[in-house]
Symmetry: C2
Subunit: 430 residues, 2 copies
C-alpha cells in the first residue's frame, strides 16, 4: 500500500503519525492532505531513513540540498561530507545529482548513509551510461530508460525527478519564441536532445504509465521536473514554461489517481513580481500539489552570491505557498560546490524557509525568533548563539572583536541601545 | 534657495539635471517629484560631493552603507577604508555613525574624502559629548543639542537622522504594551532616556522649527528617524511604531512647507507579510515621502547572516515602493563590521535593490541581467565576471575549480545544459 492508498482506506501510517508529531498537527490532517495530493511524504517503501518529512499544505517549508559528484571533480567521500554537513544544519532532504564515475555505486553509498529522504534525477544516469554504451543520446532505448528507473527504485530512492513535461509542443514553442538561455536544466536538455534527434515525443510523457507503475511499486514520490524552467530573468514565465506546467498538472492527476505521490518542480530565475503569480499558477494548474522551487533567483547579476538571490526568491515563494525550497549555493553557475558552499547554501535556504513560515503562519514558527530575541534583550550571548541558525559564525565574530564590557558588543559598546532602554523600561518583559 | 524652493520656482538646478541624466528621466520629472516631496537630493549647499543621487518615486532604489568608529574599536583610517570599499561596490551614500574618539574630527575627515552624500545621526555626538561634560544625559540642554546640529550642518553633512517622532505618547504606549526589545535604535534610546529623566517631550519634536531652520540654511535633507522601530519580529508594526510614524508624517508636512527635503526611516525587524503593508502605510501617513528602510530583517534567528535576512526584506520592500535601503552586514548584532563585512553588506543590499528595480519596472534595470545572461549563454566567463556585481569572488571560485573543457564549469562539466541545448537550438539568440 502506498501512503495515498493507506490514506484513502482511512489508515494512519507510522509515517503520517511521525510527520504529524513533528509538525504539531493531527495525523488526520496529514492523512487528508495526502488523499488530496496536497501533502507528500517522500519515502521508498524499502527505505530505512530515520527522519521522514511531510511536504505540502499547512506544513513547515522544507529545504533540499543537492550533492553529488561530477566528472573529474569530487568523489564519494567528499559528497558524503557535504550530505552530513547539510543534514546537520537542517536540510530536510538531499538529492544525489552525481554525474561522475560509477553513478550507481555513489547513489547506493549515499542512500545507505542518509538519515533523510534521498532524491535523484534518473535521466542523468540514463544519458551518461547511454552515451558511454551507444556513443550518442539518440540510440538510448526506452527500455533502457525504464531499466534505470527500476534500478534506482530498487536501490531505495525516496523521490525522483522525471522531466515528463518537456513535451514536443513546448519545444516547438521554445523554437518559435527563443530565450536568452534556452534550456538550463541538465535533465531537460538531455531529454530535449533525445527527442529532437529521434523526432519523438518525450518518452516519460508517452509512457507515463510505466513511470507510475515503478513509483507505485516502491511508493516513490514523483517530483515532476521543470526541464524548461527559465534560466534568465528575461525568460521568466514564458509560453514554454507555462506549457510544461500544464503538462505536469495533467500527469499529476494521472499519478494521484493511481495512488502515487507527486510534487511539482518550479523555477528557476524569476523577477520578484512574478513569484506570487507563479506559486498561484502552479497551485491552480497542478491541483494544489506541493510546489518544489529551485530558488527562485531574482536577478542574474550576482554569480558568487546566488545563495542570496535565491534566498530572496525562496522566502517570498514560501510565504506565498511554495512548500519546498531547493537550496542554491554561492557556487551556482560557477563550480561544483565545496563543503563550505553547501553549508552557506543550506543556511541561506533555511533562513528563507523560516522567514516564509512566519509569514505563512506556521504554528509556533515565531517561537524560535522570540527565544533568540529574549536572549538578545538579556545580552545572554551564550544562549543567543546556542539558539542561532549557525553557532559557529557568530561565536567567531564575537571572539574576534571583544568589547570592554562583557554584556555588549563592539558595534555600540557602552552606548548599547538595549542597555539604555533598560534604564528606561526595566529588565523584565512579560 | 533649497532644491525645493528652486523646484517651486520652476528652476532646474544642476543637481536635478545630474540626477535626471543618471536615471534616464526628464529633469522636469525630478523637479516635480521634489516639489511634491516624493524625491529628495541629499546634498548640503556647501558640499562638494561628485556623485549626487536622487532618492524617491520613479527612481532606482538606492543603498546606504553605515560606517563609523566606536569606542575602543576601529579608527579613522579603517573607517575611510570601509567607505571607499562601500562606494567602490556601488553604495549610493554613506552614513558616519561614529561614537568613538573625537567624533567631529572623524566626521570632517569622512566628509572631506567622500564622493557620495554623507549622513549622520547628530544625537550620538549630542549624547556622548553631553555625558562627558555633564556626567549624565539628563543635563544636556536643548541649546547644546541644537549647537551640535549647527556644527554638523556647517561641516557639510548632506542628510541627518533626527528622531523627532519618539514622542511622549509613543513611549507611554511602549510602557503599556511592552515589547521583547523595547528600543533598539541607539539614537531613539538616548532621546527616550533624556525625555524620561527630564519628564519632558522630545526636544526635536517641540522645537522642530529649529531643526527646519538649520536644515533649510544648508539644504540638508532630514531623515526622520524611527527611534521606535521594532528590533524583534514579535514587536513588528505595534502601536508605538505606528504612533511614531504618524508623528513623522506630521513633521514631514511642516518641513516640506518650509522648503526642506525629508525622507522617512523605517523598520527594522518585520515578518515578510508585514512588509508591503508597512511601505503602503508609510506612503499614506507621510504623504509619499521617500522611505528609507533599515533592512527590514525578516527573522531574528540568523546572527552572522543578517545581510541575508535584510536582503530578503529589502528586496521585497523595494519592490513594493521603498526607495532607499540601508545595508546590513553579517556582523549586525555582533560587532563593529570589518572591511570585508562592509563589502558583503553592500553586495547583499545592492542585489536587493536591483531585484526590486526589476520588479518596480525601473527603466532599463533588466538590461544588466540580460547582458550577463547572454555572456552566460556564450560561456564567455571573462565578460560574465566583468559584468558581475562582484568580479572577485566568481573569478576566485572558477580558478579554484577548473574543468577539463574551458567553456564549461565543474558543476556539469561535459554535460553542461547550455551546451546540450545549443546542439538543439543553435547558438544565436535574437
Amino acid at each position: 500500500m502506498t501512503q495515498i492508498e493507506a490514506a484513502r482506506a482511512g489508515k494512519l501510517t507510522a509515517e503520517m503519525r511521525q510527520v504529524a508529531r513533528e509538525e504539531g498537527v493531527s495525523p488526520e490532517f496529514i492523512r487528508k492532505g495526502i488523499c488530496r495530493g496536497h501533502i507528500v511524504i517522500p519515502k521508498n517503501s524499502i527505505s530505512r531513513i530515520s527522519k521522514v518529512c511531510g511536504i505540502g499544505e499547512g506544513l513547515r517549508t522544507k529545504i533540499n540540498a543537492n550533492i553529488g559528484t561530477s566528472r573529474g571533480s569530487s568523489g564519494l567521500r567528499q559528497e558524503i561530507k557535504k550530505m552530513n554537513a547539510a543534514v546537520e544544519l537542517g536540510s530536510d532532504t538531499v538529492m544525489d545529482l552525481s554525474t561522475g564515475a560509477d553513478i550507481a555505486r555513489t547513489r547506493r553509498a549515499i542512500i545507505s548513509k542518509s538519515k533523510v529522504p534521498v532524491g535523484t534525477v534518473p535521466i542523468y544516469e540514463i544519458a551518461i551510461n547511454g552515451m558511454t554504451k551507444h556513443g550518442s543520446i539518440k540510440k538510448i532505448s526506452v527500455d533502457e530508460m525504464f531499466g534505470v528507473l527500476e534500478d534506482q527504485a530498487s536501490d531505495g530512492v525516496d523521490f525522483f525527478t522525471i522531466h515528463a513535461g518537456v513535451v514536443k509542443s513546448a519545444l516547438e514553442t521554445l523554437r518559435k519564441k527563443p530565450r536568452i538561455l534556452d534550456i538550463v536544466s541538465r535533465g531537460g536538455a538531455f531529454i530535449a536532445q533525445w527527442m529532437m534527434e529521434n523526432d519523438a515525443e518525450n518518452p516519460f510523457y508517452t509512457h507515463f504509465d510505466r513511470v507510475i507503475e515503478i513509483a507505485k511499486k516502491y511508493d516513490i514520490t514523483l517530483s515532476l521536473g521543470d526541464g524548461l524552467r527559465p534560466g534568465a530573468i528575461a525568460d521568466a514565465t514564458d509560453s514554454a514554461q507555462v506549457l510544461e506546467l500544464l503538462a505536469l498538472g495533467e500527469l499529476q492527476q494521472k499519478a494521484l489517481k493511481k495512488g502515487v505521490q507527486v510534487m511539482i518542480e518550479g523555477p528557476g530565475h524569476l523577477p520578484l513580481h512574478h513569484i506570487e503569480m507563479n506559486v498561484a499558477l502552479e497551485k491552480a494548474c497542478c491541483n494544489g500539489a506541493p510546489f518544489y522551487v529551485l530558488g527562485p533567483l531574482v536577478t542574474d547579476i550576482a554569480p558568487g552570491y546566488d545563495h542570496i538571490t535565491a534566498a530572496i526568491g525562496g522566502a517570498l515563494a514560501g510565504a506565498k505557498g511554495a512548500d519546498f525550497l531547493c537550496y542554491v549555493t554561492p557556487s551556482e553557475h560557477l563550480r561544483l560546490p565545496t563543503v563550505e558552499d553547501v553549508m552557506e547554501g543550506v543556511i541561506a535556504a533555511k533562513i528563507a524557509a523560516h522567514a516564509a513560515d512566519i509569514a505563512k503562519g506556521v504554528k509556533n514558527a515565531i517561537n524560535w525568533d522570540n527565544m533568540i530575541s529574549r536572549a538578545r534583550k538579556a545580552r545572554d550571548w551564550k544562549r543567543q548563539f546556542e539558539l542561532a541558525i549557525d553557532k559557529v559564525r557568530p561565536t567567531r565574530y564575537r571572539k574576534s572583536s571583544r568589547p570592554d564590557m562583557q554584556d555588549v558588543c563592539t558595534m555600540c559598546g557602552e552606548y548599547c541601545s538595549i542597555k539604555t532602554a533598560e534604564r528606561c523600561f526595566g529588565k523584565a518583559v512579560s
